[in-house]
Amino acid sequence: MSELLRVDNLSVYYGYVNALQNVSIHVNEGEIITLIGGNGAGKTTTLMSISNLVDKAEGRVTFRGEDITRKAPDKIVKMGISHVPEGRKIFPQLTVYENLVAGTFGKPGTTKERMNQLMEQNFVLFPRLKERAKQAGGSLSGGEQQMLAIARGLMMDPALIMLDEPSLGLAPIIVEEIFELILRIREGGTTVLLIEQNASMALSIADRGYVLETGKMTLTGTGAELAVNEDVKKAYLGA
């Protein structure tokens, strides 16, 4: 298994607030990795700094051995890192179809045939999007918007997809659907970096996990190890 993404000693400040302190993670090809932690633990900030949407105070990010610490956000995407942001951030006035087209911008040189092929793959994963292809993105329900955001992220045919709280605010039945999807995405050959507050679900599908607490990495291990860890149980699994 070769290493895909590596984050070393990452520190981020928002003003004087230390949002992340010396966080290091690595993601191997084909894995599902999860970052868990409570509100304000720095999970989203970690993803934002990988995509270089926030300024890093310290640290280094490499993707396939290449340093992307200071690379422009759009160029990072084009290297094959798809970031599905928290709160979905779909384009509300673009149709579902156009939202998906926007996803292909992340992979320059996508031919029309390839785009249609990816579109079809997505419609198999998310049949409801096909029904709503001509509707405005903003008119979808919350769960559908989340699916659209993930589908849009898959349209750039990424090597790594980073999902920020895909289950946030969704009904339990849809959450289960989304976690099943994540497994299928990995089967399709895409590596997954997943951020979740729903720790039990996340750990149940993850190969490895990292626990973040107020900007610091406190624990790491395989999904199964973390799921039975007493501290994790107490803090995040409600046991």
Partner: protein, 296 residues
């Protein structure tokens, strides 16, 4: 009655130009995410670009329109680089102030370079008038100029709509105007796309500029601030970023102005335009746009 109907026609054609200004303005506000106060001078530069085509090449309307679009487009690049890109992470009012300062600079620079006196723009479109009888003794006078203007605005608006809806760049531009952060995450070069959008908006302003000059038979170097405010007002009426609604806003301002002066004097033109804006905003602060289709 006849006077009233004719003023309605005048209002429609002037409103068409305002609509074009408003479309350009809304494109800029959408992709840049900020209002601009250089728009009047952008229109002026477009008008001058076309004026010099008339001077040196002769009366060639398509070429003149192209020149207007191109000169405003280029000025758009400069405005973007100076006023927006440099202050990307600065508080928003910095860019705003920069556009105000830049507008003064251009206004005065133009007076130094091209002279402060107004330039005549005559005989571009011949003065033919069609009289359309409406039954009885009532008829409407329709000038060829007005037909050309309305047709041109419709063609440009349709072209822009097709560009926004049918091309990849169009989808990228709309994505940037809806959510910049998400646009970054789609791999869109947001800065370059925003610049392109800014320049397209400016180009439309430039064409509106030369149309105004043809309509009034003159290019002044000082009256553009007022037109800039009308573009802004029309855009506000349409909710600032909705192109269709902004165009409607422009059309309305044109009609209200021209109907307003039928009951008073042409001196009060602007009073009706801005009075309408204030009244509208008091009654319906969100402008014409409805919130339909955005559930989120």
């Amino acid at each position: 009655m006849e006077y009233f109907l004719n003023q309605l026609v005048n209002g429609l054609s002037q409103g068409a130009i305002y609509a074009l200004m408003a479309i350009g303005y809304s494109v800029i506000v959408g992709v840049v995410g900020m209002v601009t106060f250089t728009y009047g001078e952008i229109m002026m530069i477009g008008a001058f670009g076309a004026y010099y085509v008339f001077q040196f090449v002769g009366v060639n309307l398509p070429l003149a329109l192209l020149a207007a679009f191109a000169s405003s487009f280029v000025l758009g690049i400069i405005v973007y680089k100076l006023c927006y890109e440099r202050f990307f992470n600065a508080p928003r009012h910095i860019s705003l102030l920069c556009t105000i300062g830049f507008s003064m600079l251009i206004k005065n620079l133009v007076q130094i370079v091209f002279g402060p006196e107004a330039k005549p723009v005559l005989n571009i479109i011949d003065n033919r008038t069609f009289s359309i009888p409406l039954g009885g003794a009532v008829s409407i006078d329709l000038k060829l100029l007005q037909i050309v203007i309305m047709a041109l605005v419709v063609v440009l608006a349709v072209t822009l709509t097709l560009f926004f809806n049918r091309t990849k760049s169009g989808v990228a531009l709309r994505a940037v105007s809806q959510n910049k952060e998400a646009a970054y995450l789609m791999g869109i070069n947001v800065k370059r796309t925003a610049m392109l959008g800014n320049c397209i908006g400016c180009g439309f302003g430039g064409i509106a500029g030369i149309l105004l000059a043809i309509y009034y038979y003159t290019i002044s170097t000082t009256t553009w601030g007022g037109f800039s405010m009308k573009a802004f007002s029309a855009s506000v009426l349409g909710g600032l970023v909705d192109l269709r609604m902004s165009a409607l806003g422009g059309l309305f301002i044109g009609i209200i102005e021209n109907l307003g002066i039928t009951i008073s004097s042409a001196t009060f033109r602007d009073m009706f335009a801005f009075g309408f804006l204030i009244l509208m905003l008091v009654i319906r602060p969100q402008g014409f746009a409805s919130k339909k289709g955005s559930r989120v």
